[in-house]
């Protein structure tokens, strides 16, 4: 079940020509998740700072 | 029935509200052949798609000002305070708008399809389709416009266009049904059925939405 599906690291990247599709999708997914997490954390931080100023 | 009198009184002076959409429909139907090289059979290929989209757009424009003016000058508040049923009023108002825009547009669609296809029977069947679909579109865009009441009609259009897409699909299918002469009445009944649901539900939802606006 946990056998490495490729013979070499280069093959894992290349994936018989399909690598570009797989990895680009991965990058898009991770990037959008990352952006959303950082944006929300940043917004919360900003509001907290503002509230701190009031106090 | 007071509302009918009131609305006609207003629309008598506001010709752009109901004449505008009709003219836009007309212009789109004139613009379409200009984009195609003038060969009759080429014209017919996309004709009905353009027809349905033109109806969609003209109905979108017809609802542009349906509540905005009354909202801005305070008439809506006066209507709400009066005890008579608000949602019935909205339903009647939509009917008037349909009467002034939907019916002329449907007649025009009949004329244009006869001019393009030279097929009287087919064009005659387009007429009820146009009547029903224009009423459905009008109701949906009224819903959208009530949501974006004083924020311009574009927002309302964006928001309700997805809801109108199934109707376009049914219209497209019914043209195929017409051309191959299979179960066209079924499509008319389907549209009528959805219209009868929409006619009841939309005014109720819109009345709640407008109340939320006035709060």
């Amino acid at each position: 079940m946990f056998n490495f599906a490729f013979n070499s690291f280069y093959e894992a990247i290349y994936m018989n020509g399909h690598g570009i599709y797989v990895w680009s999708v991965l990058i898009i997914v991770l990037f959008s998740l990352l952006v959303f997490f950082t944006v929300y954390q940043y917004k919360i931080k900003k509001i907290k700072e503002k509230l701190d100023e009031f106090n | 029935m007071e509302i009918l009198k009131v609305e006609f009184l207003k629309l008598r002076k506001k010709t752009r509200i109901w004449l505008g959409p009709i003219l836009v429909f007309w212009l789109i139907m004139i613009a379409y052949p200009l984009t195609v090289e003038l060969l009759q059979d080429k014209l017919q290929i996309g004709f009905f798609s353009v027809l349905w989209i033109a109806i969609l757009i003209s109905m979108m424009l017809a609802t542009e000002d349906i509540f905005t003016e009354d909202y801005n000058d305070g008439s809506l508040e006066q209507t709400i305070i009066q005890e008579s049923s608000f949602s019935t009023n909205i339903g009647l108002k939509v009917f008037i708008y349909w009467f002034l825009t939907g019916i002329p547009v449907s007649i025009l669609s009949f004329i244009f399809s006869f001019g393009t296809t030279q097929n009287f029977g087919l064009s005659l069947s387009i007429f009820p389709l146009a009547l029903i679909s224009s009423y459905i579109f009008l109701n949906l865009f009224v819903l959208g416009n009530s949501l974006s009441l004083n924020k311009g009609s574009v927002l309302g259009a964006i928001v309700t266009m997805p809801i109108a897409l199934p109707v376009l699909i049914v219209l497209g299918k019914s043209i195929t049904a017409l051309q191959f002469d299979i179960n066209f009445e079924g499509f008319i009944l389907l549209l009528l059925g959805s219209l009868s649901i929409i006619i009841v539900l939309v005014p109720i939802v819109v009345s709640y939405i407008i109340r939320a606006h006035l709060e």
Partner: protein, 192 residues
Amino acid sequence: MTDNSLITAKTISYKINENKLFHNLSFELGEGCALLIKGKNGSGKSTLLRIILGITVPTKGNIYKAASIQICYLGHKNALKSYLTMRDNIDLMQLKNHKELNYYLDLLSLKKHLDVTVSSLSFGQQKKLALLRVFLNTSKLLILDEPFVGLDDATHEQLTNFLSNELIMGKGLIFTSHIPCEIKADSLVLIN
């Protein structure tokens, strides 16, 4: 709640975007009584009127109205159609009291402008036209938001007399005004 009360408010509170406008407000209005709502700008006078009307829902509390009560309301917005003539606008108001229409048109000296579009009337004249709703009302309760703004002295006096008369006839009146007037009224002051 007494028998002849037109409006009863029980512990109503209202806040908008977490700004508290008023808290636990209670009052009662009987027949022939007037209530003047006072307060600074932005203290929620108009909002309170709209809550009484039932347009705005209070955050907490309830408003009880006498059964099947008719309300005549005049707000900041005149509910006039600027592109129609005065005559058409009067038609739009759907007044039920036609007998006295001529009398009040004379009294407010509006008669000669009947076929003029509202947009070309002055602010005061538009206000007077809107006041026809009040003068020709058939309601039991009048709710007026700043009715005296923009009126000349004569009209001010006519409106005061009219409203005092209505009170004697046993109607209810709730209004806001920062212009002093001689209507005998209890006042309710809104403090933030």
